[in-house]
């Protein structure tokens, strides 16, 4: 899994997601989810890693479901009503379809991204997807500053306690800290930009790439897998008569 070009993983997740957001029915989502679990079984990801990384998806999906069950379009028998909330046959069906859909889009996206190395992704985006190198490498280098910002934030917090202003006015204090962090980040960013420029970044020469971004049949296969799961799911929905195009009636 780690040797597949990250751009192919990104594309596979995108193709699958595009297919699955076209319709809101439970058949397509169930079919996609079932096929995905077959694929997950083959890639031999450690169970612990799988559950840990996908945990946010497992939490988010039921929450969306509950919201839709309460406020989704009313149809058929009504089971429960309070203020604007109304649980009906229609809203329950929609809720189940949505939960399945969030899982069907979210789980493969997380699984595909767990093993992506940012440097490899940047290489792929610039060399294979032909995105502008200046933009891709700038973003990549900028990401390196994130842990520094987190350290800055902690220091800013401790410093406010030391200055005697941490007892009250939490919201105002956080706004002040955010501004200070903003100033510090601009400073760090421009220092990094100078360092990059001094190393010829943005020079007129045609840039070369020290690392190859491999692309072959395996990459096409991963993308094809993502697309076929999506297409099979759509076909199942259409054949079962549950196809429910997202735009229109």
């Amino acid at each position: 899994m780690t040797t597949v070009n990250p751009v192919a993983k990104l594309a596979a997740a995108l193709l699958l997601a595009i297919c699955l957001v076209l319709t809101i029915d439970w058949v397509s989502a169930t079919v996609a989810l079932a096929l995905e679990f077959v694929v997950f079984a083959f890639i031999r990801m450690k169970a612990r890693v799988f559950w840990l990384r996908t945990l946010p998806v497992w939490i988010a999906a039921p929450l969306t479901g509950v919201t839709i069950a309460l406020y989704g379009q009313t149809d058929g028998a009504i089971y429960f009503e309070f203020a604007l909330a109304r649980v009906s046959d229609g809203s329950i069906t929609l809720a189940i379809a949505t939960v399945l859909r969030v899982l069907a889009i979210g789980l493969p996206a997380v699984v595909l991204f767990v093993s992506i190395d940012p440097t490899d992704l940047a290489d792929g985006l610039a060399q294979r997807a032909k995105l502008p190198a200046r933009f891709v490498l700038g973003a990549l280098a900028g990401m390196r500053l994130v842990p520094l910002f987190m350290e800055d934030w902690r220091s800013l917090e401790l410093a406010r306690r030391a200055r005697g202003v941490a007892d009250t006015g939490r919201i105002r204090r956080i706004a002040g800290q955010a501004f200070a962090l903003f100033v510090l980040s601009i400073r760090r960013g421009s220092a990094l930009a100078t360092a990059m420029e001094a190393r010829g970044f943005g020079a007129p020469a045609q840039r070369t790439w020290a690392r190859e971004s491999p692309w072959g049949s395996r990459e096409w296969l991963v993308m094809a897998a993502g697309l076929s799961i999506g297409l099979v799911a759509i076909a199942a929905a259409v054949l079962s008569g549950r196809w429910n195009f997202i735009v229109g009636p």
């Binding site: 800013l156 220092a191 010829g200 020469a205």
Partner: protein, 439 residues
């Protein structure tokens, strides 16, 4: 060549111009500058800056060194050959896929140097490359630079306040004058001999002209302020240091030393009542604690003000007001002092720390030395009994250094307890009554 001059003389600007990274719309320019007979451009000159963290560009060591070659359009095989050669030259013997952020300060600076020489520049520019390093890192980087200069035959220009580091290895010293021009240019012996006193007065560390040190009065009775018992410290639940037993007493200075990453700052912040101990405890003496309880970490933010003041390593972290004057008023106001008392304290501090002319300036716009003086002043405004300072002399010129040392010595003589985290041996020598070395 060693480039000297007071802060504000334009040393860094000159280096950036030589490196070809000064944009046309930044400031004004006159005359011409040629490198190898052509206008400067990245590639012909390589630049290493002061802050190790902001010049790491990529996540892996090998990729970071290769970055410059890629930008210059060097072919792949040739790039990796140069990467190996450059890492060898700076003596950085780590795997190519080693994470750059896991390196020590000295290693990071050598990595930056390797990234520069992989571009095979004829001119290597170093802007205070060792100012942020511990003594071991300073030697590491200096030796790597000397080796690289010999191997490549490149011209070297270095800016550094601490002349002693480079004095023995440079052939020429140039002193820039504030306002323009060079006031001295020649071999190290004659320039430093003729201009030594003048340079030292301007803040440069020149051998034979050490900064003034205060005379110390020794106090007999020391009062216990803080005590640690089996203390373990850490930023999270993981302890970086364990089993620390130490005493902080009024009228004395405790220096905490040790290599980068040993947990000095963490210990300092824990002593200051800002980080909770991971194990053991920090106990305040009865008189310091007063009615606030024995454990500083349980004190309210306002209760800390008159008890323990903290000066952070990066002054910017502790600035919260829009002007220097307002910054100094924060503490007294939080204590609820009267307006007249606040005014008196603030104007006294402004004068004492030479900040009066900057009273209405924004703290973020001050120079390094001014920021340091202000951050110390903000802590002093509430007259804490204990003062904890994290690397107060880091990157300071000799003038700010002697002002700080004199100020701290005065505080200690008046009964304040000073705890300073430092790897500045001169500071330890001048102030410390006791030293704790972490390993």
């Amino acid at each position: 060549m060693l480039l000297l001059g007071q802060s504000g003389a334009g040393k860094s600007t000159l280096l950036q111009a030589l490196a070809g990274v000064l944009a046309d719309d930044e400031g004004e320019r006159e005359g011409t500058m040629l490198v190898d007979g052509r206008p400067p451009a990245p590639g012909r000159a390589g630049l290493v800056l002061q802050d190790p963290d902001s010049q790491l560009i990529l996540a892996r060591v090998g990729d970071d060194v290769a970055f410059g070659c890629e930008n210059l359009g060097v072919q792949r095989d040739e790039t990796w050959r140069r990467v190996h050669e450059a890492l060898d030259a700076v003596g950085l013997d780590v795997a190519l896929d080693r994470s750059t952020s896991a390196l020590s300060g000295g290693q990071k600076q050598r990595l930056a140097l390797a990234g520069v020489i992989a571009m095979q520049p004829g001119l290597i520019l170093l802007d205070e490359p060792t100012a942020n390093l511990d003594p071991q890192g300073v030697t590491e980087v200096r030796d790597a630079v000397v080796r690289v200069a010999q191997l490549t035959g490149a011209t070297l220009i270095v800016i550094e306040h601490r002349v002693a580091v480079w004095q023995g290895v440079v052939d020429r010293v140039v002193v820039l004058e504030t306002g323009g021009g060079a006031i001295a240019d020649g071999d190290p012996g004659s320039v430093l001999g003729a201009r030594g006193a003048e340079l030292a007065a301007g803040g440069v560390w020149v051998a034979g002209h050490p900064p003034a040190r205060p005379a110390r009065r020794h106090r007999a009775a020391e009062q216990l302020m803080l005590e640690t018992r089996e203390l373990s410290v850490g930023r999270s639940r993981m302890a970086v240091q364990e089993g620390i037993d130490l005493r902080v007493c009024g009228g004395a200075t405790l220096a905490i030393t040790g290599p980068n990453g040993a947990g000095k700052s963490t210990l300092g912040l824990t002593l200051a009542g800002l980080l909770p101990p991971v194990g053991g405890e920090v106990v305040a003496g009865a008189e310091l604690a007063g009615d606030a309880g024995p454990h500083p970490i349980k004190w309210r933010s306002r209760q800390l003000l008159t008890r323990i003041g903290t000066v952070f390593q990066q002054p910017e972290h502790q600035f919260i007001a829009a002007t220097v004057r307002a910054e100094l008023e924060v503490g007294p106001k939080a204590l609820g002092l009267s307006d007249s008392e606040t005014r008196t304290r603030v104007s006294e501090l402004l004068d004492r720390l030479r900040l009066a002319s900057l009273a209405e300036a924004n703290p973020f716009t001050l120079s390094g030395g001014e920021k340091r003086r202000l951050s110390v002043a903000t802590a002093l405004a509430t007259r804490p009994r204990v003062l904890v300072l994290d690397e107060p002399t880091f990157g300071q010129d000799s003038r700010t250094w002697s002002e700080l040392v004199a100020l701290l010595a005065g505080l200690v003589d008046d009964g304040t307890a000073v705890v300073t985290i430092t790897h500045d041996l001169d500071l330890v020598d001048a102030l410390a009554d006791a030293t704790v070395t972490l390993s």
